[in-house]
Subunit: 243 residues, 2 copies
């Protein structure tokens, strides 16, 4: 079972104050890159794995999806999601991605934003996602980049010449990482880029594109605090399809 | 035109003293992982892009390849390679991978060991490699991992708690990197993992497997100096095939 940190009151209060919780998809710097990986949504059956407050589910319907299933482990998140729509073609349900079990071939698109790094068993997860997709169905997801999750001390530091560095270590040592983010003791699961790519291929996916998210020059001008992100990749974005 | 650092006398003298130059493939820690990506060599037409002293070309013939073309920019390397065999099915030729131009569909396997990071234009390179392969033909290569090539100061450092860290920065800033390795002023070209994967796909390749090389537990026991490599990925290994 995955940790349900989003139902922790301190975590949830902090998360609710993030730009992406208030402004939705447009408040997430990586959204344009993720959106560029999505197919034409018209008529698609969509599952959102870790749907949170349901911003993507509502966007998918506005973009023409026929039906959207939003899954999340957090009761607080699902409550927010349900309160934000009366669309009968959006259904929300409680699910732990660690035990994902959906009908075979039921969806054309599986989407997930920053949820897969909470799942310990990547092989099982990708197999379950592949199984729920129709042949040719697409998987588009973001996850914290393993360069971001790896270190003992995951915060900016100064190099010997005073340059800002990301103090990378433990990259090759896969497994849980416990960090303090919004609340103490948040558990993420570190997998290398190679492991993610190889597990996807082993589960029957063809890799179409990956992105190691970086802010665009325009975004750096608009938000100078983002310029430090040129030093490291923060998010890994993947677009793949089932055989 | 790529820099021809291997013909620099100081560089070549240093390179000739490396384990991989004296012992050949078995002197390279990543060789078992790379070899595992290779197909059955029997009857294959093979091109080795950056063949160096020809260790792989000779191995390929011993493993059953029908014919092997070894390409390198360095006259010193080609001289060593030619002196080490009289096999008429191995042909060596001078070539700059930056201008690679081979007959279309002429090869079943393109192989390259630690040479692609010397090539500035990755898109052109992968297109030229795809073109020289028969449909279904395979590309197997290693390159310095972008985590390894990225930093301003690419050497181990100490973190705030005294832990050994790799001081990552400039990961998202692609382009040339000038380092001192065996000789001053060695020019490598930094491309992110995402760029490498996406350029390969754009050139017509399907990604079969990637590895971010790490020493195995047995290798760390045999060579304790390798344990530091668990902190970062040093080499990127890719196995792909043409549509």
């Amino acid at each position: 079972m995955s940790q349900n940190i989003y139902d922790d009151p301190t975590f949830f209060a902090g998360y609710s104050r993030l730009r992406r919780s208030i402004e939705g998809l447009d408040g997430a710097a990586e959204w344009p890159a993720l959106r560029a990986m999505l197919p034409d949504m018209a008529g698609l059956k969509v599952v959102d794995l870790g749907c949170g407050m349901g911003w993507f589910c509502r966007w998918a319907r506005e973009a023409g999806a026929a039906a959207v299933l939003g899954l999340d482990l957090s009761a607080r998140m699902l409550e927010r999601a349900r309160a934000a729509t009366s669309d009968p073609a959006i259904v929300y349900a409680t699910a732990d991605l660690a035990n994902l079990d959906l009908p075979p071939g039921a969806f054309d698109l599986a989407y997930s934003s920053l949820a897969f790094h909470y799942v310990a068993d990547g092989a099982r997860l990708y197999q379950a996602v592949a199984r729920c997709l129709a042949p040719g169905g697409r998987l588009v997801f973001s996850t914290e980049h393993p360069i971001y999750t790896a270190p003992t001390r995951p915060s900016w530091a100064k190099g010997e010449d005073g340059e800002t560095i990301w103090p990378l270590n433990r990259y090759q040592m896969e497994g849980p990482r416990v960090t303090d983010w919004l609340a103490p003791g948040v558990i993420k699961h570190h997998r290398t880029v190679a492991t993610t790519v190889n597990l996807l291929i082993a589960a029957g996916f063809v890799i179409d594109r990956i992105e190691e998210f970086r802010p665009s020059p325009d975004e750096v001008v608009a938000q100078p605090a983002l310029s430090v992100e040129l030093a490291r990749p923060m998010f890994l974005l993947v677009c793949a399809h089932r055989h």
